[in-house]
């Protein structure tokens, strides 16, 4: 197919079509108002707000301890990263030092979530490409991670691994064995999946050079996470602003230069494999001792900023506490919030048929974005 002219939104040949709010890529509502010229996207208007729930207001009516749970329920896929960053902010204000073992356990929880989250996203990519056999297979592999979460943390999504002052769970022999055996099962499967995404013609034809985000645009939009790294932005909170024990972990920050849908998927698959190495390192070097500081740590008035690398990228929390048990202000910005804007660049002159694939490639999270 060839493009004969640069699409002009004002030209009479332009038509406006609604995409969404439902079933654009995931079953989350986001409405795109797209002007198309022929078969190409000329202009993208993003219309948000379908799942705005006022959680930031609710958070100021809840105590810090209640907010650990509330923040975990903002999003399902990066549910662990929210209480993690929130607790880090509270600990910063309270001058609370998390015990070593607690730090390791936090890393394990975060990386398990990363494996499951990335597999979910690349699975949906296969589905949108129309390769449903691969979709089913990747979801089946992800199921190993889901069962692992249920076995170790007691829930398939909300791990409940974090409390202010440390970790809320501990590993015993049985759960360590379950973790290790699950990782042993996951690793070769993910390596195989990575190979398929690297070589399979159906995947490559639909994802290479599709939804390209140039490096300069990536910097201008301030994108984070795999979206940034696929466009050559060498940034990962785990390396740039290490927290917990990430300074001692084999974190491999991989970047790609092409900035297309395929590069983003490959970055995610690489990170899923790297996460497994990180969990193994944690299990090998896990120190003994307490997992948290004990009951109800005291958090005085103060302010703090905390950041963590959620599966989708940098998650930042700002906490301001006063004299009461409730925070004066709790604000957070999720990685997806930054990445939406980049869609306008990615979709420039894209084929209408590729819209869903491009939207999925930023691993969008609407419930996170709108809170």
């Amino acid at each position: 197919m060839t493009t004969t002219s640069i699409a002009d939104p004002m030209s009479p040949a332009t038509t406006t079509i609604p995409v969404g709010p439902l079933h654009v890529a995931l079953e989350e509502p986001m409405y795109f108002r797209i002007d198309i010229s022929g078969e190409r996207v000329a202009h993208v208007g993003i219309n948000a707000g379908h799942v705005h729930r006022g959680i930031e207001y609710l958070a100021t009516k809840r105590t810090l301890i209640q907010n650990v749970v509330l923040t975990e329920r903002i999003c399902s896929l990066c549910s662990n990263s929210h209480p993690e960053a929130f607790a880090m902010a509270a600990e910063e204000i309270g001058g609370i030092e998390v015990p070593e073992r607690g730090k390791y356990l936090r890393v394990i929880a975060a990386e398990v979530k990363r494996v499951a989250s990335h597999l979910f996203n690349v699975a949906i990519l296969a589905h949108l490409v129309g390769y449903d056999a691969l979709f089913m297979h990747v979801m089946q592999v992800r199921e190993i991670a889901q069962d692992l979460k249920e076995g170790v943390f007691g829930n398939r999504m909300d791990l409940g691994a974090i409390c202010i002052g440390g970790a809320r769970y501990d590993l015993d022999e049985e759960t360590t064995a379950l973790l290790r055996s699950s990782l042993d099962k996951l690793e070769p499967e993910i390596a195989e999946i990575e190979k398929t995404y690297r070589t399979n013609g159906s995947i490559l034809r639909r994802t290479r050079d599709v939804g390209v985000l140039a490096n300069s645009d990536a910097i201008a939009c301030g994108v984070v996470g795999p979206v940034a790294r696929a466009s050559g932005v060498d940034y990962d909170v785990r390396r740039e602003a290490p927290y917990h024990v990430y300074d001692r972990m084999p974190v491999e920050v991989k970047t790609r230069q092409d900035g297309d849908v395929w590069s983003r998927a490959m970055i995610r698959l690489h990170e899923a494999r790297n996460a497994i190495s990180i969990i193994r390192r944690c299990l090998d070097t896990l120190p003994t001792g307490p997992v948290n500081v004990g009951e109800k740590p005291d958090v005085p008035a103060g302010r703090a900023v905390a950041r963590s690398e959620a599966p989708r990228g940098e998650l930042i929390y700002f906490l301001k506490t006063g004299d009461s048990e409730q925070p004066e202000r709790l604000k957070w910005r999720v990685p997806s919030f930054m990445n939406w804007d980049a869609l306008t660049f990615m979709m420039r002159d894209a084929k209408v048929a590729d819209i869903a694939i491009i939207v999925n490639s930023i691993d969008p999270c609407v419930s996170c974005t709108e809170r």
């Binding site: 705005h52 207001y57 301030g222 909170v237 950041r307 930042i316 301001k320």
Partner: protein
């Protein structure tokens, strides 16, 4: 991208002649977290330009309406803002470092910047009825956060290219975060006394 330069304070002071209150802390892993409160909110744009030259990325903007500090603290207020504060009997509200009255109606805007892993937060206080300049001419990423702040608070942000609502529908009254929203409304009535009387009644019957 580069981390917070050593002479950042000098650079920021040069950009904001009215003065800043600057503090920073570096943790054992080498991550610096810095805070910079502006005396004059009109110097925000100059500060943003200075930070953009340092390669900073605007990561988040927080809007809030800090409550007025309790009366007793006004007596021994550490902020040396001068008039009206030193007198214990004075009914005047406490002033911020820059002289904005902290009476519970002023807005606090926190601009969270990232410098290759280091965090720098620029704090600007805006008195009720006043306005602040948009950062969108310098940072594209200020667009959505500023739109969100405009729909949540009654604060005016001047120079925003697209000041439409972001998440909230047009039919919703403005400045939602400045209103008291009943808790039962907020939680979809899942913890009202009516509901609980039914639950407890049923619980009692079931246990008998």
């Amino acid at each position: 991208m580069s981390r917070i330069p050593d002479d950042i304070e000098t650079r920021l002071r040069a950009a904001a002649p009215s003065g800043i209150s600057y503090e920073q802390k570096t943790d054992p892993l080498g991550v610096t977290v810095a805070w910079c409160e502006l005396a004059n909110k009109d110097e925000l744009l100059a500060i943003a330009e200075c930070l953009a030259r340092c390669g900073a990325r605007l990561s988040m903007i927080t809007g809030s309406q800090p409550p007025a500090p309790p009366e007793v603290e006004a007596e021994e207020s550490e902020t040396d803002a001068g008039d009206g504060v030193a007198e214990a009997a004075s009914p005047e509200p406490t002033l911020s470092f820059g002289g904005t009255p902290l009476d519970g109606t002023a807005y606090e805007l926190d601009y969270h910047f990232d410098l290759a892993g280091d965090a720098l937060t620029v704090v600007a206080l805006v008195a009720q009825g006043s306005s602040i300049a948009s950062l969108t001419p310098v940072y594209r990423t200020a667009d959505w956060p500023e739109r969100e702040i405009m729909e949540l608070y009654g604060l005016r942000i001047v120079g925003h290219p697209d000041p439409r609502r972001l998440f909230l529908d047009k039919s919703i009254e403005p400045a939602v975060l400045e209103r008291l929203i009943p808790f039962s409304t907020l939680t979809n009535a899942t913890s009202t006394s009516d509901l609980w009387s039914k639950v407890m009644e049923a619980g009692k019957e079931a246990s008998q």
